[in-house]
């Protein structure tokens, strides 16, 4: 398992980022944590549908995306808001989606990030198609896809990995092994010792990294991105991390695991770790941190306000995006619903 930044903030090997970049990514993780905390809080107030916290997984998401180019594709899940935001998906869209509004799925043009995948497993092959099509069209954009340990059990994971292997698609598969799929622990998900080793079944390189280690994740991702970009094909990265919160706000982890497990992993928090590292180099102060937290909070509050200012979709609008041009049948149904005379 690749490790660079140890829990105590010390370093083995080479950090993949300059100090400026490291500090920027620390800030990003703080923003992500702010969003995440807010997400859980808003759900409790009934302002969001169920919310899936990624607390503890910030390094995996931020570290991986930091290695992408702004126009690369990202195909990720309901738990990957930090990653999506890093790749350009606005907080407002993320909030809007969680209020239960389809317009959350429509990021600005130029942001090559698909709306979050709610079904587990189906989306990895989409990344294969995206990357493949880019290469086919002579572009060097690559695709990264994020998924959980549970997703590796779905047949579509297998088909995606196999296609990527056969066609040498420029894709980075990043599995956040957060040890649980809802209540099912990693060792009941598959009998393979690691998830990384599954890559071998597809003739693809696989690497396991400490997923709470910003530098380890980024180092592995950098290499994988470079391979993809230069036409050397796909890579599977297993980032070993932990979902310290519940599966979603509807979940009660005490039904299936001991709180001590959570406590232990909280001790390995990915943000604290970077803080210790920066602090040891004199690059972290409480004031700077407060500043980051404050500006993150502002940004997040603004995004919430913007999202909540959207009027809900009206009855006509639910028919509008099924096709580029609604069929006569849909037009008729729309008329029935809004009470207009039938065309």
């Amino acid at each position: 398992m690749l490790e660079i930044l140890r829990p105590d903030g010390s370093i083995v090997g080479e950090p993949p980022f300059s100090m400026d970049e490291t500090k920027r990514l620390y800030g990003a993780m703080v923003s992500a944590r702010t969003y995440d905390t807010k997400g859980t809080a808003l759900q409790k107030q009934g302002r969001l549908a169920t919310y899936a916290s990624f607390e503890g997984q910030e390094a995996a998401q931020v570290g991986a995306i930091a290695t992408l180019r702004h126009d690369d594709w990202l195909v990720a899940t309901y738990r990957d808001a930090a990653a999506m935001w890093m790749q350009g998906y606005p907080w407002v869209n993320l909030f809007l989606g969680r209020t239960g509004d389809e317009r959350g799925g429509s990021p600005p043009v130029g942001v090559n990030v698909l709306p979050p995948s709610i079904t587990v497993g189906a989306h990895m092959i989409h990344a294969v198609g995206l990357g493949w099509a880019e290469a086919h069209q002579g572009r060097d954009r690559i695709a990264m896809t994020l998924f959980g340990d549970g997703a590796t059990s779905e047949g579509d994971f297998h088909e995606a990995m196999n296609f990527a292997g056969v066609f040498g698609a420029p894709v980075v598969f990043l599995c956040q092994n957060n040890h649980y799929a809802i209540s099912t622990p990693r060792h009941r998900q598959t009998a393979s010792e690691t998830i990384a080793q599954k890559a071998d079944a597809y003739g693809i390189p696989g690497v396991q990294v400490d997923g709470n280690d910003l530098f380890a994740v980024a180092t592995a991702a950098q290499e994988a991105v470079a391979r993809a970009r230069d036409g050397s094909g796909p890579t599977l990265i297993e980032a070993v991390t932990f979902r310290v919160g519940p599966h979603t706000t509807a979940d009660d982890p005490s039904r299936y695991r001991d709180v001590s497990e959570e406590t232990e992993w909280r001790g390995l928090d990915p943000i604290d770790r970077v803080q210790r590292y920066l602090e040891s180099l004199g690059e972290w102060t409480p004031e700077w941190n407060d500043q980051l937290a404050e500006s993150a909070a502002k940004e997040i509050e603004a995004a919430i306000a913007e999202a909540e200012a959207f009027d809900p979709l009206g009855p006509s609008e639910i028919f509008e995006a099924m096709f580029e041009t609604p069929t006569p049948q849909l037009e008729r149904q729309r008329s029935l619903l809004v009470g207009e005379p039938d065309g």
């Binding site: 497993g121 799929a181 209540s183």
Partner: protein
């Protein structure tokens, strides 16, 4: 008899079959330790053991395909899929194998199993959590398709499903899980397949529905009653087999039929019913058979899903125009 909600009624029925038939097993994602996302299997693993209430990997085709093999080898698997929107990865197993092994082997091998799936909108959940695509199963030969509306029916139909010699798709109305309460026998009384029930008697119009829509249909019927339109309300309970006799008997009395279904309109079960009613009773009809359905759209997310699910207003309006003969 105890007053239970629909989820509790199902838990009780599952506990009963696990207790009385050693061949039954429950399997699915998170059904064991945590008791399922809707807690329908709550406590069953603790009581019956992890060999009989089995937490599986996240793999719907695997769950259903393994259940198929188990059923052939003599067990009675009761598989759970977490939401109907997650059943599609298992669709091939259901359509190509589960529904067909009896015919393929001319009765030599059979797959008596139950696939329990929560369905329907109304809880403001994420995409894929609000499907009503029962028509995909009713269009597939070789499957029985059951959709209970009340706690007693949920328990009673589940007992019948587990005892049935053929595969049963058992769709559970999500928004009724906790909303509806009712008396449930202990043990529950089995409810036969293919027997619709008249939930309200009236002579002016026949309203036909099932599952999650039934409470709303009854509410609409009550409102209509206040304005003088007395409706027969038929709850089909099982779509396959279908109690078309009950429907035709009622339509013969009323001359009018309104079908209420949450699923998409085109090729939904309401289309089948409308086609069948006019085939059998055209000359008795005093108005076109009306359909009140979900639309041919994705079920909208939380903020707009009420535009999709047939509302009481839409049901009332459809009945009223049927009364006017249009």
């Amino acid at each position: 008899m105890a007053e239970q909600n629909l989820a509790q009624a199902l838990t009780g029925a599952l506990d009963h079959v696990l207790s009385t038939d050693p061949g039954t097993i429950v399997l699915g994602e998170d059904v064991g330790l945590t008791g399922g996302v809707f807690r329908v299997t709550d406590g069953l693993q603790a009581k019956h053991g992890p060999e009989r209430v089995i937490d599986t990997p996240v793999a719907e085709s695997g769950i259903v395909g393994a259940a198929f093999g188990m059923a052939i080898a003599g067990l009675r698997p009761i598989a759970e899929i977490q939401f109907l929107g997650f059943a599609y990865p298992a669709f091939d197993q259901v359509v190509s194998h589960i529904s067909r092994i009896r015919n393929r082997s001319r009765h030599r091998f059979t797959a008596p199993l139950v696939i329990r799936i929560p369905y329907g909108a109304g809880i403001g959940a994420a995409e894929h959590h609000s499907e009503s695509t029962e028509a995909l199963f009713t269009h597939t030969p070789g499957l029985k398709v059951v959709i209970p509306a009340t706690p007693a029916d949920a328990a009673g139909l589940l007992l019948t499903a587990v005892a049935d010699p053929d595969p049963v798709i058992f769709l559970e109305p999500i928004r009724s899980y906790r909303r509806l309460r009712g008396e449930v026998g202990d043990p529950p009384e089995p409810v036969a397949f293919g027997e619709a029930v008249l939930r309200q008697r009236g002579s002016d119009v026949t309203i036909i529905s099932y599952g999650a829509m039934v409470p709303d249909v009854l509410e609409a019927a009550a409102q209509l009653g206040h304005t003088g339109t007395q409706a027969d309300v038929i709850d089909l309970r099982t779509l396959v087999p279908l109690d078309i006799e009950a429907v035709l008997e009622s339509v013969a009395r009323t001359g009018r039929a309104v079908i209420v279904q949450e699923g998409h309109r085109t090729c939904g079960f309401a289309a089948e019913l409308a086609a069948s009613i006019q085939e059998n009773a055209l000359y008795l009809l005093e108005a076109p058979v009306a359909r009140v359905t979900g639309w041919d759209t994705v079920v909208p997310l939380r903020r707009a899903e009420h535009h999709y699910v047939p509302s009481i207003g839409r049901i009332v309006a459809a009945v009223e125009s049927t009364m006017r003969g249009v």
